[in-house]
Amino acid sequence: MNRFHILSVVLHIVIFAAIFISGRAHFKPIPKLDVYKVSLAPLPQPKVTAPEEIPEEKEEIVQEEKQEEKAPPKKEEKKPQPAKKPVEEKAKEVVKKGLPDIKPKIYTGSGRGFTYSYYLNILLNKIGKNWHNPFRDQNVVLRSIVYFEVDKNGTIYSVRLEDDSGNDIYNETTMRAVVATKSLPPLPDEFADDYLKVHLEFLTAK
């Protein structure tokens, strides 16, 4: 080791010291955080329901009528069946369960199930981004259903309000959210039908 290597060692020490000092000047200790390992829960799967079979309902109604005919005196004694729960209660229940504000009901053209949950997640995301809810965080309960159809290319058409919330502004925003989305990704290749019927429920509840 000659004097030049010693000089080189000194030079390196100076460089390292300079980096160390400059590093200390800018160094901000990172607070040690407890890290918890978590795993993502599966995304809520939208319910895939087949179109209601009208004939069966008819049969039920007929059966009910028959029962009513058979036992007319008991009619008054019968407790009134808890008919459809009020919309507000339903909505509150849904919110308690922690489901998202937008909830689709899917019907396929042929009546077969639409099992592509990833596509529905995209659908919810895209429309959700376009929905500017004016009643957010307000103490009101509103629910509307917008119906639309999606063709093979993902284009949205036949948009209409299926269930009125009772508030025109709210209805308008929900309609606008769907219309503004315009198009979605093309329907999955494996999906045989030509279009998809969507009944999208928009819900607001604090």
Binding site: H5, S8, H12
Partner: protein, 234 residues
């Protein structure tokens, strides 16, 4: 960036690689400083010799350059040429004394004059070799350092994947240390290799340039000494 923190938190393999790279760096910078000093000295002494040489073009005066014939490559080449010339001069004079057919001796003198050139060429090779000392070492550092850095990179990534396998999770806190080890060794490798490559190229070009200048000087000396030998036969 705190390099010491990174060093301490690195794995043993990465630490060893970084230590080796620091040694390489110290070594290459040492070579650079030494060569700069050597080339500076050679340049200074050569300049002094050449100024003296340009004022004394007569071959008879060359022997009087004294220490300047030994302290620089030009002087040493000239000294070796002169030494060979003196030996030949004695031989040629003796031959000319015995034989009167001087014209036939011209070919013989030309052949002998080549000995002068060869002696100077030999000295030139020695001088060039002297100037090239440590350049192969620099070249080795240039080639090896990035590979060592790469080794550290591969090692770090391998450890990261082993951690993933052992813990069954690809969380950033598990993957990040291995990746940071991997990257820091590459940085060290490049920090060693890049200056070493620059130094190598600087010195290589200087040696080449110097070698060309020495060649021209040899030609000049050879022409003069050959002329001197030929005048003996006339």
């Amino acid at each position: 960036m705190n390099i010491f923190r990174i060093f301490i938190e690195s794995s043993i393999a990465a630490q060893i690689i970084m230590i080796i790279l620091v040694i390489f760096s110290i070594w290459s910078w040492g070579i650079f400083l030494k060569k700069m000093f050597d080339f500076g000295g050679v340049k200074r002494r050569t300049k002094r010799f050449m100024s003296n040489y340009n004022f004394h073009k007569d071959t008879k005066e060359w022997g009087n350059f004294g220490f300047q014939l030994t302290d620089n490559p030009y002087g040493r080449i000239l000294a070796s040429g002169l030494e060979e010339y003196k030996k030949l001069k004695v031989k040629v004079s003796a031959r000319l004394m015995n034989q009167q057919e001087s014209k036939k001796e011209r070919g013989f003198i030309n052949e002998l004059a080549d000995n002068v050139r060869m002696a100077m060429e030999r000295t030139k090779i020695e001088e060039t070799a002297q100037l090239e000392t440590s350049l192969p070492t620099l070249s080795t550092f240039v080639s090896v350092s990035p590979f060592l850095g790469l080794l550290g990179t591969v090692w770090g990534i391998m450890e990261a994947f082993l951690e993933i396998r052992a813990r069954g999770s690809a969380h950033i806190t598990i993957v990040a240390p291995g990746i940071s080890d991997a990257l820091i060794t590459t940085v060290y490798g490049l920090l060693v290799a890049i200056p070493a490559l620059i130094f190598y190229n600087i010195f290589r070009s200087r040696v080449n340039s110097y070698s060309g200048d020495l060649e021209k000087f040899i030609n000049e000396i050879y022409a003069n000494l050959r002329k001197e030998l030929l005048t003996l036969s006339q």
